[in-house]
Symmetry: C2
Subunit: 194 residues, 2 copies
DNA sequence: CGAATTTCCTAAACTACTTCATTTTTAATC
DNA sequence: GATTAAAAATGAAGTAGTTTAGGAAATTCG
């Protein structure tokens, strides 16, 4: 169970046996039922969450009550209200389980301590922040350049596992369109194929 | 000149005199003329750039030749094709000077060395990556939630210095609308005020 | 299993934003 | 300081995507 997170970290920094132990002891395994929240607005986000198994959705609710999906996370991804976690301020997002899931949580103070103790962990968290930044940048570019239909087509190619696992309304609001419009796109596609 | 960058870094990590010297020696001052490019597609981005004085714009060119602004940077901000820099891969963006400017450049290898030598620098780069990530996240949310007009109004409030210094077409493409539409929003606003 | 709730589909009317084409204003350059 | 180029404004026509509303599938859960 916790081996998986060690493997994940070792993609970026090699660890000694003691270091592996040290990391593992910071993460706590938690089972989350479908529809359960792990982050809620106005509460400060205490954890960074690694999805061991399952699926989550982070979203905000706009003034008129419309939900907008910010992120998905499935097996082997991270999810939090990042803004809330790194600044230790009240969250603005919900993060909810889309399936029964298992996550590994590290809490804010433990993470700080880990980074203080050992440069390798500082490096690890620097690398994942940088990669996250580059990832977000690509998303911003994609949203600026492409039409709704193109965004969907690209996403299907890049993240087929996610498309299959999340409800349509969540995917539509992630891609910046209504669920009705996404439905139309999908059916147009099916019609074309046959 | 180089004091400014030391002050900037010290917002996040305190430095000894030797460390200050060490950082300063890694940055090279470069004058850039208006319309000059510091990043171009297909070339690997060798530098992270701190804007000492001036204004820059990062943009991509879509298939049909339309330009989409990804970022602006004025005094005291950083700008690069981040994706190209951190992965040391060919750039997809242009970064161009909007005014005669002065930047401080650190090159990729020097930055790696700095981080290897001293944990403080690893921490510094981790923090700015995290903050950048949180910032991008807020932009994605804003784009999902707000109409074109709201995006403009919010941006004027948050970044008035930038609105005044960059051309309208660049701002429009940053906010995800056409320059014609932004022109209309602005003129509607002026009409209201009088 | 069966009732209730959630998710998805369809279609027509509507609107926020784009496109195209022309004119005016501002800035760059010799 | 005149000439040229670039940027902004304006109007009219078009379209991508939304809204609203009603019904059909699919899931959930007692």
């Amino acid at each position: 169970m916790t081996e998986k997170i060690v493997d994940y970290i070792e993609q970026f920094v090699k660890l000694t046996d003691e270091e592996k132990q040290q990391v593992v002891s910071c993460f706590k395994e938690v089972k989350i039922k479908k529809r359960q929240f792990i982050v809620q607005p106005n509460f400060t986000t205490k954890h960074r969450n690694y999805v061991y198994k399952g699926a989550f959705r982070a979203y905000v609710v706009a003034d008129e009550g419309q939900e907008h999906t910010i992120n998905f996370a499935i097996d082997d991804w991270w999810i939090t209200d990042y803004n809330s976690y790194i600044f230790q301020q009240p969250a603005t997002m919900f993060v909810v389980a889309l399936e029964d899931s298992i996550i590994l949580q590290i809490d804010y103070e433990a993470e700080q301590e880990l980074k203080r103790q050992n440069q390798k962990f500082e490096t690890f968290f620097r690398i994942i922040a940088e990669r996250g930044l580059a990832f977000q940048q690509r998303r911003i570019i994609s949203n600026l350049i492409h039409t709704a239909e193109e965004r969907y087509e690209n996403y299907v190619v890049k993240f087929p596992q996610i498309v299959q696992r999340v409800p349509q309304y969540a995917l539509a609001s992630f891609l910046g369109m209504t669920t009705e419009f996404l439905s139309r796109i999908r059916n147009k596609r099916v019609a074309k194929k046959s």
